[in-house]
Symmetry: C2
Subunit: 189 residues, 2 copies
């Protein structure tokens, strides 16, 4: 019977995958390289994760410190404050560098795009939706407010536009200002 | 003395540049190819535009049907309605295809990024700013509303996030809904 990996060993593997991703990029990151770096067998990697895109995306997901859906302070403003507090500038910079590399790879690898959508984007969107639905149930946001479905668009805009327009990366101070000036007013909160 | 091109001839040249851009992409678009396609001399092209990135960006700019700053209906909502009316779906799709190609090229060509910033992004941002400043002078928007500086971020978010999240391109109906749900509420208008 195939033994399952311990959480510590899994975490070690994910860290190695992200290190490799930053060092060589997605295309040059092979299952052989991951096996060599982590002293594991390729058979184990394939048994556990199925494919390279899934392994890469699960590594990205593991690296996320916060599950959005679990944040529940009792007010929408408070929930956003916690989300922003757990976002530090150093982390944002590392994430941005990783995402730039992956944005490129996604064009040539539809399976990577698919895995990112299913394993990374959708769980984050569902988590955000839980936070928003709690605000609706508390009466902070109208259930038919059309902005409820547009929060990811607003946030992605902040991340993409700042480097483009202002030639500066997104930092926690900018994100806080953006949430207060754009996200919360659009929700009428 | 160097003769200047007529507006008709200039327009013809810009159309040829955009056609070539869609056909072969930025890297393969050479001044030789533009000269051959338009039956003009390379000397004329360089004299008039200085360089390939400048020629390409001026062609993109020429293709913009609306100068935002000139729109002045008397209300912010009305100004946005005119901007959105002049935006048709077919055009949005052509623009998006062009932009995807250029987003790639911009990574390897800092001079293209520079030309796009100076000749395309900044004039558009200044035009948008004129529209917004008129709304401030009419008392529709508070002069210190922090969202005034964040409209490009919101709009870029709409364009980038929709294909990413919903797997659909931006169309005029979506843009209208987004402006009403996000942009105008953040301005308190």
């Amino acid at each position: 019977m195939a033994s399952r990996l311990t959480p510590e060993r899994e975490s070690e593997l994910y860290t190695a995958v992200l290190d490799l991703l930053r060092e060589v990029g997605y295309d040059a990151l092979t299952m052989d390289a991951v096996a060599a770096r982590t002293r594991s067998s390729k058979a184990t990697l394939y048994r556990q994760w199925g494919s390279k895109p899934q392994l890469v995306v699960m590594a990205l997901r593991h690296d996320k410190p916060v599950q959005l859906g679990e944040i529940d302070t009792g007010s929408l403003r408070g929930d956003f404050e916690v989300i922003l507090e757990r976002t530090d500038d150093c982390r944002l910079e590392k994430d941005a560098a990783l995402m730039r590399g992956l944005a490129h790879a996604v064009h040539d690898n539809p399976d990577l795009l698919q895995a990112m959508r299913e394993l990374l984007v959708e769980p984050e969107m569902n988590g955000l939706d839980e936070v928003l639905q709690r605000a609706v149930r508390r009466g902070e946001v109208a259930a038919d407010n059309p902005a409820l479905k547009l929060i990811p668009h607003m946030l992605i805009g902040a991340f993409v536009a700042r480097p483009l327009i202002e030639d500066r990366p997104v930092d926690a101070a900018f994100l806080t200002a953006y949430v207060n000036a754009v996200v919360l007013p659009s929700l009428g909160a």
